[in-house]
């Protein structure tokens, strides 16, 4: 897909609205296709996953991040570099446990939901941005890091912020792998 050969310097941008609206249209369509919110969420997560598995190449090719030594470092890169690069935002990172393998990305603003005022009636369980979880999960997996990625909080569900939780499944010492998106 994204073969470095095709990358022109000054990585091309497209109109943000195009991206946001397209994603919106996609979710809306899925809501038409699937009655259960769970199914929509799953679909988005899977979709994100396969995007992530490809996006990571692009990311590694473009961001010359050096090897990471800790999960917190990785999460940091996801937040500061990856999110900035692809969504133009930098979420806040918090670590949630002592074993330092559970982290949260806290999104004060989220371009994906720019035009979404509220979840449509009867769709209270919909994770509108679930694509993101899939992307992160997929990307991490490509660098041999298994992780659970889920939404812990969601503005659309009435929470004050939107929070993505990342839980790395292997012990830190086991993983010798380097950088990743």
């Amino acid at each position: 897909m994204s073969r470095p050969a095709q990358r022109r310097p000054g990585y091309p941008k497209i109109n943000k609205d195009l991206f946001v609206l397209t994603y919106g249209a996609l979710v809306a369509q899925l809501c038409k296709d699937y009655e259960k919110d769970e199914d929509v969420n799953k679909y988005l997560d899977n979709m994100g996953y396969s995007i992530g598995t490809r996006l990571v190449e692009d990311f590694l090719a473009r961001s010359c991040v050096r090897r990471c030594h800790s999960y917190s470092e990785i999460t940091g890169i996801i937040a500061q570099v990856a999110f900035k690069m692809y969504l133009g935002i930098t979420p806040r990172v918090t670590c949630n446990n002592s074993s330092r393998n559970e982290f949260s990305l806290i999104l004060e603003k989220n371009p994906l939901v720019e035009f979404v005022e509220e979840l449509p009636p009867g769709r209270s369980a919909l994770c509108y941005c679930n694509l993101l979880c899939g992307i992160i999960r997929g990307a991490l997996e490509m660098v041999h890091l298994d992780a659970d990625v889920t939404f812990l909080q969601d503005r659309l569900k009435g929470d004050s912020v939107t929070e993505i939780g990342i839980t790395f499944l292997k012990k830190p010492e086991e993983k010798k792998y380097r950088r990743k998106k």
């Binding site: 073969r3 109109n15 195009l18 609206l21 397209t22 994603y23 996609l26 979709m47 996006l55």
Partner: protein
């Protein structure tokens, strides 16, 4: 500004996703195309609403088509349509020699039959935009078999004739 790579991947996933779900269920290709086309349509409606917010009222159809080729295309794909032609009978042919949603597809024969999948969304995009500007149209796209040169799309605002059947028009520069 969003990054292109992400959008391209999303678009590809939408296409393959629609076709995957098609395997379990509505098999006919047509339905999938329509689904993509509809999503594009909705996006087109939204985009055109935004992009025409500050422009003056359009004089006529040609005025609108020019807008689509210049401003609209530039804002969406960061480049102008390379060539616009019309028979002044309501048929317009827009040509993009480096269509973004196809450039990362490897050139060659085998992608040709897939091309339609990857154009459906954009056809919808244009149709949606036009319809929001009050022009009912049929938009079809075609890809010339020559590598790296894509033609997109022939479209038919039904201004003079209510509904014009789609004819494939491909030109290569």
């Amino acid at each position: 500004m969003a990054d292109e790579a992400l959008f391209l991947l999303l678009h590809n996933e939408m296409v393959s996703g629609v076709y995957k779900s098609a395997e379990q269920g509505e098999v006919e290709n047509g339905r999938c195309i329509t689904k993509l086309e509809n999503m594009g349509f909705r996006v087109g409606q939204g985009l055109i609403e935004r992009f025409t917010k500050d422009t003056a009222r359009f004089k006529d159809e040609l005025d609108i088509m020019k807008f689509i080729c210049k401003d609209f295309w530039t804002t969406v794909f960061k480049k102008q349509i390379d060539n616009l032609r019309t028979n002044h009978q309501g048929i317009y042919v827009l040509q993009d020699n480096k269509f973004r949603l196809l450039t990362q597809m490897s050139a060659g024969k085998q992608y040709l039959e897939h091309a339609s999948k990857y154009l459906a969304f954009t056809c919808g995009l244009i149709r949606g935009g036009l319809s929001n500007l009050g022009i009912k149209s049929i938009v079809t796209a075609e890809v010339s078999s020559m590598p790296a040169s894509k033609v997109l799309p022939s479209l038919f605002p039904s201004s003079l004739i209510p509904e014009i059947e789609a004819t494939q028009t491909g030109l290569i520069l």
